[in-house]
Amino acid sequence: MKFLTKIPPAHTQRLAVTFLWSLTLLSLGMLLFVIAFILWHGLPHVTWGFLTETPRSMGREGGIGPIIVGTLWVAGLAGLIAAPIGVTTAVYLTEYKREGKLTAVIRFGADCLAGIPSIIFGLFGFVFFVITLGMGLSIISGALTLALMVLPTIIRTSEEAIRAVPRSYRDVSYGLGCTRWQMVTGVVLKAAMPGVGTGVVLAIGRSISETAAVMLTAGSALDMPRTMSDSTRTMALHFYMLSREGISMTNAYATAAVLIVAILAINLLAYGIMRRFVARVS
C-alpha cells in the first residue's frame, strides 16, 4: 500500500471514481443484458395463440395457456393466504405491542424465515402439505408453501408502511374517541394501504419467479387446472423444463419473455404504488 500514498490524493480520487463507476456500469449493463437477451429472443414468438393454447407433446408445440392460469392460481393464492397473516403480524408488532422479548422473537422468526433457501421450503412443503396432510402435488400445497416463503416480505413492508403513518393520525383518532381497534383498522391501515399493497405485490412477484419450491409441491402437470387440488406447472418451472430437457428452445424463450414481462410489470407496479404512498405520507 505504500506506493498508493505517494500518488497525490487528487489522482487516487480520480482513479477510484473511474474504477467504481465502471463497476456500477458493468452491473447495470448485466441487468440490461439479461432483460434484453430474453426479450429479443422470446418476444417474436409470443403470439395470442401461444398465450392461450394448451401445450402439445410436452410443450414442444402449442402454447402456455394452462401454465399461465396455473401460475396465477398458485401465486395469487399464496398472496391471498400470506397477506392477512403478514399484515396482522405487522399491526401487532407496531400498534399493540411494546418492543420486548416477544416482538424480538417474532422478528427473529421472520428474519430467519426470509433467509431459508427455497429448496428447503420445497422439502418442507413436500413432507408436510403433500404427504403428511395428504394434499398431494397440487395448487394448494404449492400456494401454502409459497405463502410461508413470502410471509417475511409482507411483514417487513407492512411494518415499514405502518410506521410511516404520522403519529398525529393516531392522536387525532384517539382524540375523537376511537378505540384502538377502530383507530388501527379505520385510520392507520387505511393510510398505510398502498405500502401494504406494495409488499403483497412484491410477494406475488416472488412467487411467480420461484421454481424449486413449486417443483416439489405443485408438481408439473400440463393440463388446465380445474380445482385447487389439481397439480399444475408454473411458468418458471415450464421454462426450466423446456430448456433443460431441450424440448423446444423457441417455446422456452417465449415463456421466459412472458415471465420477464410479468415480473417487470409487477415490480414497476409495486414501485409506482410505493412512490405514491411516500408522496402522500410526507
Binding site: 480520487q13 467504481l20 456500477t24 392477512p84 422468526g109 427455497s118 422439502l123
Partner: protein
C-alpha cells in the same frame, strides 16, 4: 397475537419436519461419514455428501468475490459519487435484478457464459467458475441494496467533517464512510452469501452436477441445493431420507449465516443507539 406468531411457528414446523426426516439417516450413517465421505451410492446404502459440501463452499466463495467487489462498488457510487436523483433511479433498477427468476439467470449462464468458458478457458464449461459468476450476479442486488442502506445510515456530519478537513471524496469514502458503515456492509455480504448458498435451479443449469470432488475452477460440481433438487424426483426410502439429511446440513449452514448477520447488524444498532 396468535396470528403474529405464525412466522415463528412456521419456522419451528419447518425445522422440526426437516430434522425429523433427515436426522435418523445421519445417525444411521454416522455424522462423520455423512459429512466427510465422498461415496454417494444410495443403492448400497452409502451416503457421503463431502463433494457437495466442498462444491457449495467453492461456488459460494467465488460468487462472493464477484458480488462483493461489484456490490460494494455499486453501493459506494450510489451513495457517494452520484447525484441523488440518479440514485433514486439506479437503486430500484439494481433491486429489479433480484426479481428476475433464478432460472432465467441459469439459462443465460448456460447459453452465453458456458460456451465462452469452454472455448477460451477449456474444460466442459459447466463449472465452478460459471456457477460462481451466475451466483455472484444473483447475489449482487442483495449486497448492493443493503450496503447502500448501511452507507446512507452513516451520519452526514461524518462526511462533511472529513471533507471540511481537506480530504478528497475518495479518502473520505475509504477512511470514514466505509469504516463507519462496516458492520452494515458485513451483514450485507453475509446475507448475499446466504442467497448464493441457497440458490438451486440456476446452479443446476450451469454447474455440471457431477458427483466428484471438484479439483479446480473449471471442473464441474454439484452443490447441496442442486443435489437435493435433482434426486428428489426419483428417490425413495433411505435415499429420500438422505436428501432430507442434506437439507439439514444446508439448513444448519444457512441458520448460522443468518444468526451471524443478525448479530452483526444488532451490534450496529446498539452502537448507533449509544
Amino acid at each position: 397475537m396468535l396470528v403474529a406468531l405464525t412466522a415463528m411457528s412456521g419456522l419451528a414446523i419447518i425445522t422440526a419436519f426437516i430434522f425429523k426426516e433427515g436426522l435418523p439417516i445421519i445417525n444411521k450413517v454416522g455424522v462423520w461419514n455423512f459429512i466427510f465421505s465422498g461415496d454417494w451410492h444410495p443403492k448400497e446404502g452409502k451416503f457421503g455428501i463431502a463433494p457437495m459440501i466442498v462444491g457449495s463452499i467453492a461456488v459460494t466463495s467465488g460468487a462472493m468475490i464477484i458480488a462483493v467487489v461489484l456490490g460494494v462498488g455499486c453501493a459506494i457510487v450510489l451513495t457517494q459519487f452520484c447525484p441523488r436523483k440518479l440514485t433514486g433511479v439506479l437503486k430500484p433498477s439494481i433491486e429489479l435484478l433480484a426479481g428476475i427468476p433464478s432460472v432465467v439467470y441459469g439459462f443465460i449462464g448456460v447459453t452465453t457464459l458456458v460456451p465462452l468458458i469452454r472455448d477460451y478457458l477449456g474444460g466442459p464449461g459447466l463449472s465452478v467458475l460459471a456457477s460462481s459468476i451466475v451466483l455472484g450476479v444473483m447475489a449482487l442486488p442483495t449486497v448492493t441494496s443493503i450496503s447502500v442502506d448501511a452507507l446512507q445510515a452513516v451520519p452526514l456530519a461524518y462526511r462533511e467533517g472529513s471533507i471540511a478537513l481537506g480530504a478528497t471524496e475518495w479518502q473520505t469514502t475509504r477512511m470514514v464512510m466505509l469504516r463507519a458503515g462496516k458492520s452494515g456492509i458485513v451483514a450485507a455480504v453475509i446475507l448475499g452469501m446466504g442467497r448464493a448458498v441457497g440458490e438451486t435451479m440456476a446452479v443446476i443449469m450451469v454447474a455440471g452436477n457431477t458427483l466428484v470432488m471438484p479439483d479446480g475452477p473449471l471442473s464441474p460440481v454439484r452443490t447441496l441445493t442442486s443435489h437435493i433438487a435433482m434426486e428428489m424426483g426419483y428417490s425413495a426410502g433411505d435415499h429420500r431420507k438422505a436428501l432430507f439429511a442434506t437439507g439439514v446440513v444446508l439448513f444448519v449452514i444457512i441458520m448460522a449465516l443468518n444468526t451471524i448477520a443478525l448479530a452483526v447488524s444488532h451490534r450496529k444498532a446498539a452502537r448507533a443507539g449509544r
